[in-house]
Amino acid sequence: MTHLPYIVASYGLAIGLATFLSVGAAVRLRRDRVRLATLEAARGGDRRSAREETV
């Protein structure tokens, strides 16, 4: 392979970018899922306590 560095650089770039984008998306998705679940759980708790106060 006479042009090995160019080939390795191209594949490395593509694989690195794909890894960066997919790991970034997975981390963001996981973080948002946890945040949303926490917020909605808190909201559920708020509603329950408001209902208990009314009763």
Binding site: H3, Y6, I7, S10, L13, A14, R28, E40
Partner: protein, 267 residues
Amino acid sequence: MSATPTLTERAGALFHRYANPGRFLRLGVKLQPWLTWPALILSVTGLVWGLFFSPADWQQGDSVRIMYVHVPCAWLASSGYFALAVCSVLSLVWRHPLADLAAMEIGPVGACVTATCLATGSLWGKPMWGTWWVWDARLTSVLVLFFLYLGHIALIRAFDDQQRGYRAAAILALAGAVDLPIIKFSVQWWNTLHQPDSITLRGAPTMSHAMLWPLLVCTLGFTLGFAAIVVARLRAGVMESRIRSLLSSPRRGMQSSSGSAVGEYAA
């Protein structure tokens, strides 16, 4: 006046059927593994096939193996921008609530893919043409596409009023779509250093089948990967919108204060 819905109204109703962010999240959860795993399997298969098992070109030698990453990236750069333009039409004509979010998420992924296309093209050009870059019609029009992606990314986030950013970016994406046929036909319209298309809809491919198959496998794998990343980012975007809506109306629960329909889904 007739009560029969027009074609536009029917199309609008069809798109809005899938506009509910809660419904999209449920669909996204089901869709994600069907995109991610085939993308991974096909991409790895295609890259290994192209790198180790496909033949070298009689003229270019082993440098032709760069094609297995460069061509899928070039295809995705153009089709990603086409998807952006479709989202813009959905946003401007039907006010589709997910179209703006989709455009917001497609932009950065498309820009990264376009940058990779340009970089791998340079890495292919240096040993073949003896230069990293020429102001050739194909290369320049792809560079313009990259700047259009960057402009879209900047514009959609540039306004305090998010809806204004969405509108402005949608108009830019539509105006920029004129670059797509220029990219496609640049090698025919102008005398360029870049080689003409090897695969066309109207004729037989001009490359060997031993090279064509790994290229198609790579292209399919990369396309599914692009879709998987966009769906994952879009799911995250919908959740972030919901989080913002919950934080901005702490005591009112399910109502969005921003007026955005995206925040108003039934979780």
